[in-house]
Amino acid sequence: MNGVDKTGSRMQDVWMKNEVVIGLVMVAVLTVIMLTLGLSLVLTILIDAAVFTIVTLSLNLEVGHTGISQFGRVLAVIAGAFVVGAVPGRVLAFLNGLPYGVSYADDAVNYKVVPAISDLLASSLPLSVGFLLFSFLLAAVAGAAVGWLTSRPAIRLKEAYLGISLLAFGDFFMWVGHNWEPLVGGTTAVFVPDPFRVVWGSRFQVVVIVAVIMAFLVYLYLEKLTRSPFGRTLHMVRDCDVAAAVCGKDIVRIRTQSLMIGSALAAVGGALYVIYAGTCTAIGFTRLTWTFWPWAYMMLGGIGSNRGVVLGVLMLTVARTLIITYRSTLFGFLLTWGIDPMWLEYTLMGLVIMLVVLFMPHGLVPAKVESILPAGRVRKAAQEQGFGATVG
C-alpha cells in the first residue's frame, strides 16, 4: 500500500504479499506430496489445476472484471469439449476414408475408428501438433460463438436475472449431448483422437507440461488484457454501467466482448480436458464441476484478482485430488456414522464457499485498486505535472 516509493521497504512489501506466501506454501506442499505420495499424484494435481486455471480465469474475466453473474460456465466448457469430441476426429476420418458421418459417434464404430486415427497421429509429429492446434482453435471459435449466442437474450438483464438465465443455458448442451447420439455418442461417449500418442512413453508428462504452459499463457494474456484501457472499460461497466454509458462506453458491446473472450478461453479449457482424458462424455460436464467449482476457486482466490484465482485453483485442487484419492481408504470410518465419504468432495466445496463468504469475502488475494497503466509511467507523468510527492 504505502511506502511503495521507499526502496527500502519494497523488498519487505514483496515478501509480505499474500500471494508470495501462499505460492511458496503451495510449492512446499506439492514437493511433500511428490516425495511421499509419488510424482504421478503431483502430475494429476497439475493437469487438473491447469485445466481449471484456464476455466476459472475465464470466469474471473466475466465475473470479477466485468461484473456479469456467470452461473453457466459449464456451457462454454461443453462447447469446447463437444466440438473437439465431434469434429477434428471426423475430419481426419473423412480424409482417410474412415466412417465419419453419423456412424462415427456410434459406439460400435467409434472404438475402432478413433484408435486408427490416433495411430495415424502417432506416426507424425507435425500432424499431431496440427491436430492439437486445430482442436484448440475450433474450441475457441465454438466457445466465442456460444458466448455470443448466450449474450443475445441475456445481456440486457442484470445481476440475478442474468445469472439465472446463464445457469439455465448452462445445462442445455449437456442434455443435448447426452441424448443426441450423433454428436458425441450420447450416453456412451466418444473417444477423442490422441495427439500425444506421438510421445507415447512420456505422454502424461508431456500433457502436463503442455497444459501448464497453456494455463500460464492464458494467465499472461488476461493480465495484459485486464491491465489495459480495455480492462479499465470492463471495470467501469462493472462498477457503474450507467456512468460508463454516459462516458461513451457501449455497455452491451463490452459485456458481449467479455462473454465471448471468456467463453472462448473456457472452451479451450474444455478441449484440453477431453484431449487429456481421451474421451468426451456428455453427462460428465455437470454444473457442479464446471460452474460451481470454478466459482469456489475464484471466491477463495479473490474475485477480480487473476493471481488470486491461480492460487485458489491450486489450493483447492490439491485438497480435492487428495480427498478423491483417499476418501475411501482414509475416510471409510465415516460410514459408521452413516456418512458416505463419496460426498466429502462436495461437502468441502460448500464449506469453502461458506467460510470464504463469512471470513474472507475478498478472498486470499483481494483485487487491488491500482492504476491500469504501468505504475512507473503514471508516477513520472505526475511528477512532470508537479505533484509527484503524493500518496503512492
Binding site: 494474456y221 495484459k224 488484457l225 489495459s228 484501457p229 480495455f230 480492462g231 479499465r232 472499460t233 471495470h235 467501469m236 462493472r238 462498477d239 457503474c240 450507467v242 456512468a243 460508463a244 454509458a245 454516459v246 462516458c247 461513451g248 462506453k249 457501449d250 455497455i251 466482448q257 473472450i261 477480480g304 483485487a367 485498486v369 491500482e370 492504476s371 491500469i372 497503466l373 509511467r377 503514471v378 507523468a381 505526475a382 512532470e384 505535472q385 505533484f387 503524493t390 500518496v391 503512492g392
Partner: protein, 254 residues
C-alpha cells in the same frame, strides 16, 4: 449564436406523474445555460431524457441539427454531448486518475489492440497529462492515485465534473456541480467553466445554489412541476413573479 441543443415538446411520465411536460428549450452554442427549479420539478429527468439515459414518451431532442431522440448514451457521447450525475457515480474500484481517463477515448479499448501496449501507451500518456491538469483544476490533484471510493462527497462531485470535462464534449450537462461544495471552490469551478466556454465548450447547468451560479449564466430556464415557467436572461428570470412564487411562496396577505 447558433442553437446547439434544442428540445421540442419533450414529455416523460412515470405512471400518473408527469415529470417533464412538453418542455421546449434551447441551449445556444458557447453559452452557460442555467436550469433552476425546486426539488422534484423535473430537472434531472430532463437531463436524463436529453442524454439518452431515459427515453421520452413524446417530443424530440435535437443536438447540432441532428435528431438524437432515443439514442443510447454512448451514441450521444460520440456526437459530443455528455452529462454528470447529481448523485456521484464513481467507478469505485478505479483510481481517481483512471476515473477521468475512462471518460476519454483510447485505442486500447479495442480488445485486440489492448494486449499490445505499444498500440495505446502513447495516447494514454497524452491523456494522462490532460487528466492530471483537469484534476488540478477541480482540486483533486493530491488524490490522483487514490481509490475513488476514498473520496468525500464534495470531492466525488468534483470527480464527476472532471469526468465531464475530460470527455472533450461540445456540450456538457452538469447536474448540480457545486452542490455541497464550499463557496470559494464553487466560485472557482464556475470561473473555470467560463474559461472553458471561451474554448468553445457549452454548458447546461442544473443548480440549486442560484446565488452563486446566476452571475455566471448567460441564459436561464426555470422549471416547476415539469413545465418551463420562465426563461430569459438571469435577472429577468429571477425577478419573474412566477419564479419568486415557486421559490418563496405566494404572499397570501396581499
Amino acid at each position: 449564436m447558433k442553437t446547439l441543443l434544442a428540445t421540442e415538446g419533450l414529455t416523460k411520465a412515470f405512471g400518473g406523474l408527469v415529470a417533464v411536460n412538453r418542455v421546449s428549450l434551447e441551449v445556444r452554442e458557447n453559452s452557460l445555460t442555467l436550469l433552476i427549479g425546486p426539488n422534484g420539478s423535473g430537472k434531472t429527468t430532463l437531463l436524463n431524457l436529453c442524454t439518452g439515459v431515459l427515453k421520452p414518451d413524446s417530443g424530440r431532442v435535437v443536438f447540432r441539427d441532428q435528431d438524437i431522440t432515443g439514442l443510447e448514451p454512448h451514441q450521444i457521447y460520440e456526437l459530443g454531448f455528455v452529462r454528470t450525475f447529481q448523485i456521484p457515480m464513481p467507478f469505485i474500484a478505479l483510481t481517481v486518475l483512471d476515473n477521468v481517463l475512462g471518460a476519454m477515448r483510447s485505442p486500447g479499448e479495442d480488445p485486440f489492440r489492448a494486449v499490445t501496449k505499444a498500440a495505446w501507451i502513447e495516447r494514454e500518456e497524452e491523456h494522462m497529462e490532460r487528466a492530471l491538469a483537469i484534476l488540478e483544476k477541480v482540486g483533486l490533484e493530491r488524490h490522483w492515485n487514490m481509490p475513488s471510493a476514498s473520496l468525500g462527497a464534495a470531492q466525488l462531485k468534483m470527480l464527476e465534473v472532471a469526468r465531464g470535462l475530460a470527455s472533450g464534449a461540445k456540450l456538457i450537462a452538469l447536474d448540480e456541480p457545486i452542490g455541497g461544495v464550499d463557496p470559494a471552490r464553487a466560485g472557482d469551478i464556475l470561473t473555470h467553466l467560463t474559461e472553458l466556454k471561451k474554448e468553445g465548450i457549452t454548458f447546461l447547468v442544473v443548480e440549486h445554489r442560484i446565488d452563486i451560479a446566476a452571475p455566471f449564466a448567460d441564459h436561464m430556464y426555470a422549471l416547476d412541476r415539469g413545465s418551463i415557467i420562465s426563461h430569459g436572461p438571469p435577472d429577468s428570470v429571477l425577478n419573474d413573479p412566477k419564479v419568486i412564487e415557486v421559490y418563496i411562496g405566494r404572499d397570501e396577505a396581499c
